[in-house]
């Protein structure tokens, strides 16, 4: 047999192996059993078992047309079906493997941070960072995250070990026939609290070895509200660690703004006063009467309808926000 036909056979064999590998990959759990858990809001954490982790996390994902998969290795994300699924993989050996296995997907052999820095704001629906940020130094990870949130329209999905989990590159390890590189070293540890505007799904014993256990978690960051201006309803002082932002619009309670010394710590730009305490106490008064008698009630209503990112600080403010959500019933 000539060397050319041997080469072509080897090439064909490689393609077939890639296709078989891809087929096996999809058959062995490509469809995550979605477990929808209701009543969970941003900032809250769901703890679950190892087997349930991916299904529970998938239940919190919103649908996406275009997704960007940063650092997929040789296995792109399987949580969400995206018609346009872009893969950004910095390690050449993995990228080649991806190219062979997923010819229909756009693949970029590039560092994730470099790619995201160049990407336009709000240009994809979902950014996946699955088993990625723990491979970066903390500062680089934060930069990557910041850009991912900027680029995503809907959500950023992070999956990483719970805290620092040591992992060192050795040449003896390989992933589907591809040797690891130093990129596989873990350089930072992360906790759910470090991701704001997110729902966290945690398994405390996800990675098990003979002598040690490490947890893992998903943080599903709501990118749609992150860069929007916030409406802050304030009827009491904010916590010491609360940071007011440049674009915040503040509706403050009349009594609070007149009588509390804590008002000194609240920026006065974009501030309107509304009698929250009075509105909260008038729980049986109809909306029409409130509209006609309460100063700035129209402003309150209009702002609550326009802003998606609303925070209530203080009991009366929370009651007013709740009544608005209940359509003033």
């Amino acid at each position: 047999m000539s060397s050319i036909s041997l080469q072509s056979l080897a090439a064909e064999n490689k393609i077939l192996k890639n296709q078989a590998s891809q087929f096996r990959y999809f058959l062995s759990g490509s469809r995550v059993d979605i477990n929808t858990i209701g009543d969970v809001e941003s900032g809250q954490t769901i703890y679950c078992d190892r087997d349930a982790l991916h299904g529970v996390a998938t239940g919190f994902l919103r649908s996406a047309e275009v997704c960007l998969d940063i650092g997929p290795g040789v296995r792109p994300q399987r949580l969400l079906h995206c018609p346009v699924h872009m893969l950004v993989e910095p390690y050449v050996a993995y990228a080649e493997k991806l190219l062979a296995a997923y010819p229909a997907k756009p693949i970029f052999c590039q560092d994730g941070l470099t790619y995201l820095q160049q990407a336009l704001s709000k240009s994809v629906d979902t950014v996946f960072l699955l088993d990625v940020i723990e491979h970066l130094e903390k500062a680089d990870g934060l930069r990557l995250l910041k850009h991912a949130i900027r680029v995503a329209r809907v959500q950023v999905v992070v999956f990483t070990p719970l805290g620092f989990m040591p992992q060192h590159y050795t040449e003896s390890f390989s992933w589907e026939g591809v040797s690891h590189s130093e990129l596989q070293n873990h350089r930072s540890g992360w906790l759910p609290g470090e991701f704001e505007n997110a729902i966290h799904v945690v398994c405390e014993n996800y990675h098990k070895s003979a002598d040690q256990e490490f947890g893992a978690f998903y943080s599903i960051i709501d990118a749609s509200v992150v860069n929007q201006p916030r409406l802050i309803l304030l009827s009491d002082g904010a916590a010491n660690d609360f940071e007011f932002q440049e674009g915040d619009v503040i509706l403050a309670d009349v009594m609070f703004s007149e009588l509390s010394w804590k008002i000194n710590f609240v920026p006065k730009r974009n501030m309107v006063v509304v009698p929250f305490q009075l509105i909260a106490e008038e729980s049986l008064t109809s909306i029409e009467i409130l509209r006609n008698t309460i100063i700035n009630f129209g402003v309150l209503e209009s702002y609550l309808q326009r802003f998606e990112n609303v925070l209530a600080l203080g009991v009366s403010a929370e009651v007013v926000l709740q009544r608005h959500r209940n359509e003033w019933a």
Partner: protein, 411 residues
Amino acid sequence: MKKLNIPIVTDVPPDASYTAGQVLHRIISSLPDIKFEFFWVNHSGLPGHITIPNNCSIKRIFDFHLHGIWWVLARFTKKVGERSTVLRKVGLLVRLSMWILKTISIGLRLGFSLRKSPSRLVWCVVQGEKTVLCYVVAGLVSRRTLILQQWDPLSWWMTHRGHPRKAHEIMRKVLNWLERRAILNVVPSDAWKMRLLAEGKKSIRLDNFFDDPMDISKELVFLSDPQAIHAVFVGQFYSNAELELLIGHLTRTLAALNKKLVLHYFGHAQPSQTALGYRLIAHGALPRDELVKRIAKWDLALLPYPTEARFLETSSFSFPSKSRVYLAAGLPIIAWASAGASPDIFYKQHYSAYYHNALVDDRTEEFVSAIIEASPSQRKSRHQEATRILGEQFSYSSELVPFKEFLVEHA
């Protein structure tokens, strides 16, 4: 096993949409080998569109409403009674006589119907004084042995309906006679069962039982909220004093711990927030098993229970079926109940590590702190403990099997 055919006489139908009916539906549908003939003594005037189990058929319906000349007479005496106190008393007496006659006549007809039944046993569900009187007559006429089931003491019904104390005493004696005559008394609490046994009456405990528990630890999820404690309240949202006091107490305790209270309500009512300081989310009503799964992720369950002196018998002998749901969900329970209340005694005995009665025990902050600090693995072991208790106390094997064995032996 011989083919059993047992008549069941009840005011509330074995339809899962009614609270008590849910229990009957569950018992009947869990005994598919036995046929049940349903005699509906519909004294509450419930609508006729009901869904009953496949092994149950409606045999006869008895309507307690007055018709024709009797209705005219009742209206007339009521109208005339508005003119003077004497006429009012006369009117009341006339209507009482009519009511007794009507109930006795239904009891007679029911008794004759039951005589035709091949079964030696009749299962009667007591819900108030009318059913007591009716069953006494029916029992005498039919010459059948009775199984008597009760959920709330007679005083609960009669207090609610505003009957005079004298009537309470008379009906109590009639019920006592009926309980003695019954071959078995089915009640919802251990305290009630023990009282009946002490009086020499045969009794078992049976209420809204669960299937024998399975290991669902892999499916469990727990929610953790750094800002708030998520509490659950299931059932009728009466803004009664006990619930308000419990919420107020909990809100103050949480404020001291720099946490907020989020109250998740499940039930048919449309509740409104009665006080500031907490967030109320109404989720509507859910089927029981779905409800258990939904609430298991939260932190705490609320169990207010009547503390007024006039409901002393009720709080001592009834048992809140919502607390079984809380236990099935593996939630810690915070109650507001008198020290001798039946759930207080039960949960202190069986679930003491995760039960707290805020009315009598002042360590609420300690209890709530433990809930806040509980790790997922501790929450999981609490769920396992609750499941164990549920299996021992409120499961198919522990509650229904003894009842089924009794039916097979005596029917």
